[in-house]
C-alpha cells in the first residue's frame, strides 16, 4: 500500500514539472543574455577617432589579484602615435587562464580604457590562446575611426581627449563579438 501511494507521490512531482515553464536553455543555438553588469571578457576601448584609450599605466596589472595582466609601456612620438599623450601600451596581455573576472582592473583604469563586456564564451583549446593581446582586446574600429598610429584628430592636446572622457563610456559597442584571430598572441 505504501509502495502504491509512494509512487504516486513521486510521479506527481514528475507530472507537475511537465506543466511548468522550461528552464533549460537552448545553448548554443540561442545563448542566454547575461545581466547587463555581468563581468565578461575585457575590452580596450578607443577614442572616437580610433586612438587607444589605454596609456599603459599598469594600474590594472597592479590591481589584479590573480596576476593575469601584463603591460609594457611605450613612448608615443609624433610619427608613431597610438594614444593621446606621451605614453601608450606597447604590450597588453590578459591571461584568461588566470583571470577571475573580479573587475578590480576596470575599477583601477584611470581612462576608462579597460571595461568588461558580457561575453562569456572564453573556452579555448590551448593555454596560449587564452592569453589575449591587444589584437583581441582592442575594440573594433567603428565608422569614423582610423587605425592607429595616427595623429590626434580630435584636438590639439591630450587634454582635449581626457576632459569629458569619464562621461563618454567609450566606443566599445560590439567589441565582444569582434572576430578573434586565434593563436597569434604577442
Amino acid at each position: 500500500m505504501g509502495t502504491f501511494t509512494g509512487s504516486f507521490k513521486g510521479f506527481g512531482v514528475t507530472f507537475a514539472h511537465m506543466f511548468r515553464k522550461v528552464i533549460t536553455t537552448d545553448y548554443p543555438f540561442s545563448p542566454p543574455k547575461p545581466a547587463p553588469r555581468y563581468h565578461g571578457r575585457h575590452i580596450l576601448n578607443r577614442h572616437p577617432d580610433g586612438l587607444e584609450k589605454c596609456i599603459g599605466c599598469e594600474l590594472c596589472a597592479w590591481a589584479c589579484p590573480a596576476d593575469a595582466i601584463y603591460v609594457e609601456g611605450g613612448d608615443n612620438t609624433d610619427e608613431q602615435r597610438f594614444s593621446p599623450g606621451e605614453r601608450y601600451a606597447k604590450i597588453y596581455q590578459i591571461n584568461y587562464a588566470r583571470c577571475i573576472f573580479c573587475g578590480l582592473c576596470i575599477e583601477a583604469c584611470p581612462t576608462r580604457s579597460l571595461t568588461m563586456s558580457n561575453e562569456y564564451e572564453l573556452a579555448r583549446d590551448s593555454r596560449q590562446d587564452l592569453i589575449f593581446t591587444k589584437k583581441e582586446l582592442l575594440a573594433p574600429l567603428l565608422p569614423g575611426m582610423e587605425q592607429p598610429p595616427h595623429p590626434m584628430l580630435l584636438g590639439e592636446t591630450d587634454k582635449d581627449y581626457y576632459v569629458g572622457a569619464l562621461t563618454n563610456p567609450g566606443t566599445s559597442v560590439g567589441a565582444e563579438r569582434a572576430p578573434i584571430s586565434q593563436g597569434d598572441a604577442e
Binding site: 596609456i55 599605466c57 609594457e72 609601456g73 611605450g74 613612448d75 606621451e86 584611470p110
Partner: protein, 832 residues
Amino acid sequence: MTDVQKRADQVSLIIDGVEVVAEKGELVIRVAERMGIAIPRFCDHPLLAPAGACRQCLVEVEGQRKPVASCTQTVAEGMVVKTQLSSPVAAKAQAGVMELLLINHPLDCPTCDKGGECPLQNQAMSTGRADSRFKEEKREYEKPIHISSQVLLDRERCVLCQRCTRFSEEIAGDKFIDLMDRSSGEQINVYRDDFFGGAGTGDGQVGEGEGDVAFNSYFSGNTIQICPVGALTGEQYRFRARPFDLVSTPSACEHCASGCSQRTDHRRGKVLRRLAGDDPAVNEEWNCDKGRWGFRYATATDRILTPQIRDTKTGELREASWSEALLAAAEGLKAAKERGVGVLTGGRLTVEDAYAYAKFARTVLGTNDVDFRARPLRATGSPVTTTEEADFLAAAVAGITEVTYEQVENAPSVVLAGLEPEEESPILFLRLRKGHIRRKLRVTAVSAYLSRGLEKIGAALVAAVPGDEAHILASDAAVAEALGAPGALLIVGERLATVPGALSAAADLAARTGAKLAWVPRRAGDRGAIDAGCLPNLLPGGRPVTDDAARAALSLAWKVDAGVVPGTPGRDTDRIIAAAADGTLGALLVGGVDPADLADPTLAENALDTVPFLVSLEMRQSAVTRRADVVLPIAPAVEKAGTYMDWEGRLRSFGAVLKSTAMTDGRVLEAIAALLDVSLNTGDVNAVRRELGGLPGSTLPSPVRPSVAAARAAQPAENQAVLATWHQLIDLGSLLDGDQVLAGTARPPVARIGKDLAESLGLADGDLVTVGTDRGSITLPAAITDLPPRVVWLPTNSPGSTVRRSLGVTAGAVVTLTAGVPGPILAEEAAR
C-alpha cells in the same frame, strides 16, 4: 624630565613624549628618524645641506608661535617637539602644505614613471587631505624638456624642493639646472636662452659649449634618483615598468675601479635600470651616469651564446657544441704548450675569474706569460725590457689596502698624478670634491692642464708636459711640500706607467715624505687581477714568482708538482703581443681584451692573426673572436656572481642578477683544464673564495720598489707638439655599446691646444686642427686651453679621436700639427 646619561656635546630633548639624547647641531628630523618617527619630507636629504624649501616637515615645537620645519631646526637642550603623530597642529600644518604643493601638481600619476615609488604620492596618502579645496586651473608647462639626451624635466610635476639643484651645485659641481623666475612662475629650468646668459654656461665655469648647453654632467642620473616627484625622469627607463614589476638585486658596478654599490632592477629576464646603492664607505648614495646607464651591452645583438670553432675545411667560424669546443681548445692549447702560450685577461674580470686565469696559466700551461694590463705599459718607443710598472705594482700595490675613501675625504692634502679623477674614477672625484668643499682639502694636480674636473675640486695645477711627470714627482718642491702634512695622500693613475721613472719617483716620493700612496686603475677588474696573480711577476696573493718558498707553498696548495710553476717572470702584454706577432708563441688565450685598447692595435691584431692557435673567452663579437680558432661564450656581469676589487683594495662582492646558463670564465677554464687532467676547481665562485681565503699567507717582506731614472719630456720641433691624452668617461668603450641615449651625454671630443700653438697655426676656437703621426691623423675642432707650450691634448678613445689606433702612440709622444683637415697625403693615410 628624568636625567639621561649624556656627554657635554650632547643635548636631551623630547620628541612625541619620548626623551632622547642627540648630538649638538643635529637636525630634529634626523633625531626623529633615528627614533623611528617618520616625518614627511621632500627637500630634506641627509647628504645635502638643509634647505627648508618644501615645508612638508613642519612640527610643533613648544614655545614657538608657529610650526617649524624640522629639517632646518637644530636640536636644543630641553626642546619639546611634537610631530604629526602627537600634535593636531603639526598634522594640520602638514596637510595644509600638502594641499598647497598639490595645487599645481598635474596628478598624472598613471603616466608618470615615479608612480608607485613616489614620495609625493605616498605622503599625500599618509599626511594629505582627502580632497582639495582648490578648484582653479592648474599651471601648465611645455613637457617634457630634454635637459640632456638622458634626463627629462617635467616642470609641472615639480614641487620646487631643490634637491636636484643642490645636488648639482654641492655634490657634482655642475651647476646648470636652477630655480628661475619668481612667484607662481617659479620653476626649475636650465640655462638656455639669452636671458640666462645664453653665450656661456652661465655658471662662471669654463664654457664647454655655447648657447644651448646640455645638462653636461657625469652625475646627472643622481638627480633623477633623488627627485621626490616625477619631475626628473630618465629617457632609458621612461615608461618601461612599474616598481611592482621589478625585482631588485644588490650589485656592484663593473665599469671603473671606484667600486660603487648598485641596485639592479630587472623584469622578466631583462635589466631595465640601475640605481646607486647606499654604501657610506664608498659611493655614499651616488653613482655616475656610466654606471647607471651603461648596461645595455649585455643585451646587444652581437652577444655570443654558443661556442664557435674554426672549421678546418672552410676556415670559417662555425657554431659547435660545448664539448666539441672545449675539446678543441684543450687539444690546441696542449699542442701549443711546448712553444708557449700567452694569456691576456683584460681588466674586466672578477677576482674569482682573474684567479682562474692566473691558476690556469701556472698549472695547466706552466707559464708566467699572463698579464691583465690591456693598455700601454710604457712610453711609445721605450724598450720592452723595462718592467717598471710590474715592479711598482708588486712593491706598492699588491696586497696593500692603505688608503680609503674616508682618508681621501679627511686628508689635509692630496696630490694627483697621471689621474683625471672626473673622467677616470668619478666617485673618487666626488669624494675629493666633498673633502674640498666641506673640509678644505687641498688638491695638487700634476697634469697637462687644469680641466673643468680639476677646477671643481679646487686643484692647484703643477703643469706638466707629458713625459715630465717623473721629473716633477722627483724634484718639484711644491709637490713635496703638499705631501708634507701628516695624512697627506699621493694618488697616481695607471697612465703614469707610460712615463719612464714616474712610478719609481712616486713610490720614492711617498717614502720620502711619509705620504700614503694609492694607485687608481681605470677598470673594475684591474686591482683584483693584481692580487689574483694575473701579472707575469706575481703569483696570487702578491707573492713574487721568483720566490722559491712562495712557489713551493702555492704548489702544495694547488696540489701540483714542484716544477710546474715556473720561477722566472713571464712576458708582459707588450712582449706577449710581440712574441705572438713574430711567431714565437704557439697559442694565445684571450679573455675580454679589445685590441684597440692596447698600445699598438695594429700590431696586436697582427699578432692575433699570426698566432697559430687563438682561444677567445668573450661575451660579444669582437676583433679577437673574429680571429679566434675557438670562441667560448662567457657570462656578462649581470649573469654571474663574483667580486670586484676597487682601487682601495676593498672587495665588492655581488650575486647574479639574472638566472642564465651562461658560464663564468672560471668555469670554462675549469672545463678545459679537466680535459687536460688538471683539477682547477674554479667553477664555483664560493669554492674560489674559500680557496683564496685558504691560501698560505705571504711571509716575505714586500719587494723593493723600482728605481728607474726619471725621464724628461720629448722636445718637439717646429709644427710639432707633445701629445697629452686620457680617456673620457663616456667614450667608445665596448661596455657602452648599444646605448645611443647615453652616448649623447658624452663630452664633445675636441683637440686642446695652447695659445702658442693656436697663434703659430693661426687657429681660433672651433677651427679644425689635424694631429698626425707617421701612422695616421686625427682631425678635431680646436679648443684653446691653458696648456704648457707645445702640448696638444686629445681624448684617447672618443668618436673621431681613437689615438691608439689612428696615431699608434700614447701620451708623451711627439705628433705633428696642421691647421684644417689633412692634405691629400695625410687623408690617404687616414683612410688606409
